[in-house]
């Protein structure tokens, strides 16, 4: 369930009503940030938006870490394929990173 997409907060509109203006790939919409009350949202923050409400903050650090792991996975897989060609795959697979 759940079409939710990342957007960046441009401006906090009405603190009392929890509204913020968000940019989503060039489209702008007013979003309710009331669910982020534990750590109030500020301009520049990236948030996940679902049905006009911000559900969660997006952590750039976690995203970068994930990209790093994905790149490693890709390189690892490519390296393993090469090794498979040499018939060494079994022993290396057990000891892999």
């Amino acid at each position: 369930m759940c079409l939710a997409i990342p957007g960046q907060i441009i401006e906090i509109l009405q603190e009392r009503d929890n509204l913020a203006l968000v940019d989503i790939v060039g489209v702008r919409r007013k979003i309710d940030v009331g669910l982020l009350s534990e750590e109030p949202a500020k301009p520049g923050d990236w948030v996940l938006i679902h049905v006009g409400f911000a559900m969660s903050r997006i952590s750039e650090e976690d995203a970068r870490e994930q990209m790093r792991l994905l790149k490693m996975m890709g390189e690892h897989a490519a390296a393993m394929e090469e090794i498979t060609g040499y018939g060494l795959d079994d022993s290396v697979a057990r000891g892999g990173p």
Binding site: L3, V25, G26, V27, R29, K30, H50
Partner: protein, 346 residues
């Protein structure tokens, strides 16, 4: 001459909005009810315009009607759509529009100011498109029985020399060319309705595509097999109509589709497929491989054609199917639109 009743294949008990959305239901209505009765005896696949013989000359003729809410929007208004839409239907049939006649169905209570603005917009658009508005008709309906203005326009024109197009001439290996970014018109209208509270720097792409078609014809006429303007139902619907009519298949490369960021963003946010969104200033062309680069080049060098792209090609298989392929090698089928595109949250 009595209609052959056995050919009527339209079984729906009532007309729904879907029948006007330009997708599957629309096609069923036209093919299943209108065609067997009105176009009896005709073997040709239904195109954007028809060529009829008048005193030994082949004249192109087409008609289209315009129902849009709101009637004005960023980039245009219903009046411009009415002119450009009909000019474009003729252009993609390989004809240059000479004259239009227009019909207005006006709702009582419509401010004259609004009507005047539309008429001026039409005069402007006709002038830009190089076409004459030769006449028209007006009817007024009771308040509440019509959305302010409905316009219908009928256009006639003559063949652009060198172009003979038919889905029957399409061959595997032919390239699919798109004149520019998709979805601008449909998303602009959606946002202009104001129900979704979205803002973006978008304008309808309504314009006459005739200059682009003529430029392409001058450079590559012998190679042009088929053209269509992807209005309601979008690129997906037009290409599905093509593959049905020619019995071949089409593969579109997702990364080659020109699309503005804001259209992409709105589609992602609302869960819409940009291939199903209406365009009012674009056309699709299937061009033989050996002419494709020349055709594309001609578009690039013409005002308004800078973003044209080769988006895919015709294949023998899968027949009757339009596939979209991703950069990483996977494929999905894209079908004709069913009903109006609806935003989704799931």
């Amino acid at each position: 001459m009595t209609p052959v009743l056995s050919k009527i294949r339209f079984r729906d008990a009532q007309i729904e909005m879907a029948h006007g959305a330009g997708g599957k239901a629309s096609r069923r209505l036209v093919e299943g009810l209108f065609a067997p009765i009105l176009f009896e005896g005709s073997q040709d696949p239904l195109g954007d315009a028809a060529f009829v013989d008048v005193d030994g000359s082949s004249i192109a003729i087409t008609t289209d009607s315009f129902v849009v809410k709101p009637i004005t929007f960023p980039g245009g208004s219903i009046g411009e759509l009415a002119v450009n839409g009909t000019v474009n239907d003729l252009a993609v049939a390989g004809a240059q529009a000479t004259a239009l006649v227009v019909t207005f169905v006006l709702e009582a209570g419509l401010p004259t100011e609004l009507l005047e603005a539309e008429i001026r917009a039409m005069a402007s658009a006709a002038h830009r498109a190089g076409v004459v508005i030769a006449g028209g008709d007006t009817k007024v309906v009771e308040h509440g029985k019509g959305d302010q203005i409905y316009i219908s326009s009928c256009g006639v024109g003559h063949r652009i020399s060198g172009i003979t197009i038919s889905p029957k001439t399409v061959r595997p290996g032919d390239r699919v060319i798109l004149s520019g970014p998709i979805g601008d018109h449909g998303i602009t209208i959606l946002l202009a309705r104001g129900e979704l509270d979205l803002e973006a720097d978008l304008r309808s792409d309504t314009r006459s595509v005739l200059p682009l078609v003529q430029a392409m014809a001058r450079a590559a006429a012998p190679g042009i097999r088929w053209m269509r303007d992807p209005t309601r139902g979008g690129v997906a619907t037009s290409l599905n109509e093509l593959v049905r009519d020619c019995g071949l298949g089409a593969v579109i490369c997702e990364d080659k589709l020109p699309i503005h960021d804001a259209v992409r963003g709105a589609c992602e946010l609302l869960g819409l497929d940009s291939l199903h969104i209406a365009n009012e200033g674009q056309f699709l062309a299937v061009v033989a491989q050996e002419y494709a680069e020349t055709a594309l080049d001609a578009l690039h060098r013409t005002d308004g054609g800078e973003e044209a792209a080769i988006i895919g090609e015709i294949r023998e298989q899968p027949a009757g199917t339009v596939l979209v392929s991703t950069l990483y090698g996977s494929k999905r089928i894209v079908d004709m639109l069913v009903g109006d595109p609806l935003p989704r949250i799931c």
